[in-house]
Amino acid sequence: MAFDYDKWIRPGKLPHIWCPGCGHGIVMKGLIRAMETLNLKKEETAVVSGIGCASRLPGYIDCCTLHTAHGRAAAFATGVKMAKPEMNVILVGGDGDGTAIGGNHFIHACRRNIDMTYIIMNNYIYGMTGGQFSPCTPTGHKASTTPYGNPDPGFDIAKLAIGAGATFVARGTAFHANQIDKLIVEAIQHKGFSVVEILDDCPTTYGRRNKYKSVIEMMNRLKEVAVPVKAAEKMTAEQLQGKVLTGVLYKEEVKPEYTAEYAKVIERAKASK
């Protein structure tokens, strides 16, 4: 049976604004399937984003949705979650939004380990503003502001999140569409701050400039570079050259979750009265 996406999409809001072949739509579908799997209550679920193409996602989802300012999703969401810890709080956005201007809020959300799930749609570029390089654009690649090839090294978002203290980090790709929901389900179920990076593509501003002839070519690249963590264990460093690990990259359950810790502060404070 066809999956009933409509149940989660606000009536009248499609078609969405994304370009033909933009990966963000594929990620949105994965998120919807995950929400359905978990049977989330729409009224008890907040979907929060910053600004960017990816950040337009909340407008389509029939929940409590918050399209904040560029880079600020994690900080707004922290406020929502602290005020209403019983809500499911899901953050969505682009690589630029999350790791450039939003980098500080991102690492601090990781540090606090507050129970929210952050889905980063990493298309290696600032799509919305027309294709300037982002902190995730690979070195040497072309963007509208790197006419001579990008001199900047890119972030490894997963490594950054782990370094900052996140307790669940996963990576998928828009090609591996049927895994997206599974990663998101596991992330939402995780008690603590979880990061799900989905590599996807911006054919419009990134693909053309970097000589990808079509959306399909870009999709196939995702297929080729991805190596599931399990498979990678059996591969040599050489074989892993240029590859990107996918699946659940990191998970720990020792570090306490932030709102639960704050509940204890309240207890202690009340006891002290």
Partner: protein, 65 residues
Amino acid sequence: MEKTLPKIEIIEKYCKGCHICVEFCPKDVLEMKGFCVSVKNLEACIKCMQCELRCPDFAIKVITE
């Protein structure tokens, strides 16, 4: 055993003609017609749902009962 054919629903006003469903259909069921996808060979469909899964635009549904 008779094979039941799925119904492939295409929402034209959502389809942006990105070709993804056409390319990733393992059985070459679909084709582009102008800017929009259309079904060229329903018989061949194995209901693998790849097209529905991959379409970024919620434009194609494979209805199987």
